[in-house]
Point group: C3
Chain length 208, copies 3
């Protein structure tokens, strides 16, 4: 019963995260002379790109190939943007929260899938970062910009931190889903703090 509840809860969070990731892709594609289908495809890549690379690396069938709802949710994201336009971004904070929740969930799912596959801790943390961040990297490559996560957002670092906390929880032998929940919350909280206080990593100055 409890497990079922948590599974359903995870599915809902997963779809909210997918929706928020798709919105971020479509939003960044807007105003760049990109047509509706192009925007949809960029939204889709943003939403499923990271998990796809994770699954390819793990030699698993990419998750969206077994569940067409990811394709549909991205369509709903495009529809929401077309119908609501600026109004949607009055809910900017809500979307940001979805995005942070999605990032947390994607990262920890990536880490625990990799850990189940027997990979070592640092490789798992890298796999979690890939799951959480690579969709956004692909989005930025497609709209021909240097990926945001390399230059502005504290995004990848959030994933790494969440991963470290997750493994500390495992080490402490916390029971049930506690490590997962704490890992996800770490990502969410740290992400919110980073944006709220405009935290930035130091830039690597030119060495040429």
């Amino acid at each position: 019963m409890m497990n079922e509840l948590i599974t359903n809860f995870t599915v809902i969070i997963d779809f909210l995260g997918t929706f928020a990731f798709a919105i971020s892709g479509i939003k960044l594609a807007s105003g760049k002379n990109i047509d509706l289908l192009g925007a949809y495809l960029i939204g889709l890549v943003t939403a499923i790109g990271g998990g796809t690379i994770r699954d390819l690396l793990l030699d698993a069938t990419p998750f969206w190939m077994l569940d067409s709802r990811y394709i549909i949710i991205t369509g709903m994201a495009l529809l929401a943007i077309i119908l609501l336009k600026e109004k949607l971004f009055k809910w900017g904070n809500t979307l940001f929260i979805f995005d942070a929740i999605g990032l947390g969930l994607f990262t920890i799912v990536g880490i625990s899938k990799s850990y189940d596959a027997g990979l070592s801790i640092w490789v798992c943390i890298l796999m979690g970062t890939i799951t959480g961040c690579l969709g956004g990297v692909m989005r930025d490559v497609l709209i021909n910009e240097v990926p945001l996560i390399f230059r502005k957002d504290i995004y990848a670092l959030t994933c790494i931190l969440g991963g470290i906390i997750y493994f500390i929880c495992l080490k402490l032998e916390l029971q049930g889903f506690l490590p997962e929940v704490i890992g996800v919350l770490t990502v969410i909280v740290f992400r919110i703090i980073a944006v709220k206080f405009h935290l930035k990593l130091p830039v690597l100055t030119s060495i040429r």
Copy 2:
């Protein structure tokens, strides 16, 4: 006998499509300070990129790894461009037809391979679109431009339409290779119409 004929016919179309895709890559690479081998490699990525991603997603061995003729055909495309230069593009219409035929074939092959793998209809159509379009997307990323299919060409939509018609044909229980043939023809005809009448999808205006 009949099947053998169709197989041979498919192989010829496949190679013509590969040639046309390679030409499109090499052509877009020209005049950008890219050297001959670079142009060859961009042509190769254009020709085999989409099918490679499809095969990786399906956990199959990428088709060109089992048949080095794709590597050779791309070399012939480079040779044709070097030897014939502008003359080649007097045959612009012929090349465009090859390209449209290639797009149709690649798309339907991608869809039917995915359908054979037991994937759901919308996932199959996405896989067909990936097969037909991702080579061109990679080409544009490599020459550092926002992919053409996102902003100008009705290209991805053509694949989706061909896919939908293909599945309608399957639903109607058309026999033999009829669904494949009709699917491919749909892509070709719609692609020609789209270019002839300068059809464009509406652009997504800025929502920031």
Copy 3:
């Protein structure tokens, strides 16, 4: 004993090559408003990107997933750049030699892994080129530039040449590790000659 020595030697060269590739990624990322973690990730992609694609194509587990030392070596490269800065590039020639050695090793490892998998000669040479060059291509895509290997460096050609010499050695039935050693040396020597004498391939002029 001899085999063990060669294995250890290969591991050391592999790590030196990884280090040099990571340095090249981090160096190109510097001065572009990219933060430290972003630079690290670009260095990592440069170092492991080519081999990762090779392993995905061969349906093998990407090498770095089984050995976290690649993640650590890239960290050491970042550290070296931060601590030593310009001083590091007084050793520019040393780094260039590491890079050339890495290129040679990565290429021949890619070719021999592919040959073991039963692929044909030209496909193997392409796989070696992918192993040696794709990390650098990804690096340039991420920093939003047309890949260097397409426009300046004689880089891919070096891999192809090394591959051809390697297969000639196999044909001549040279014993032991001689084909591998000669193949790697060919890449290194040709790479040094190409840079020393500013060799360039002819550019493909505009044909539009």
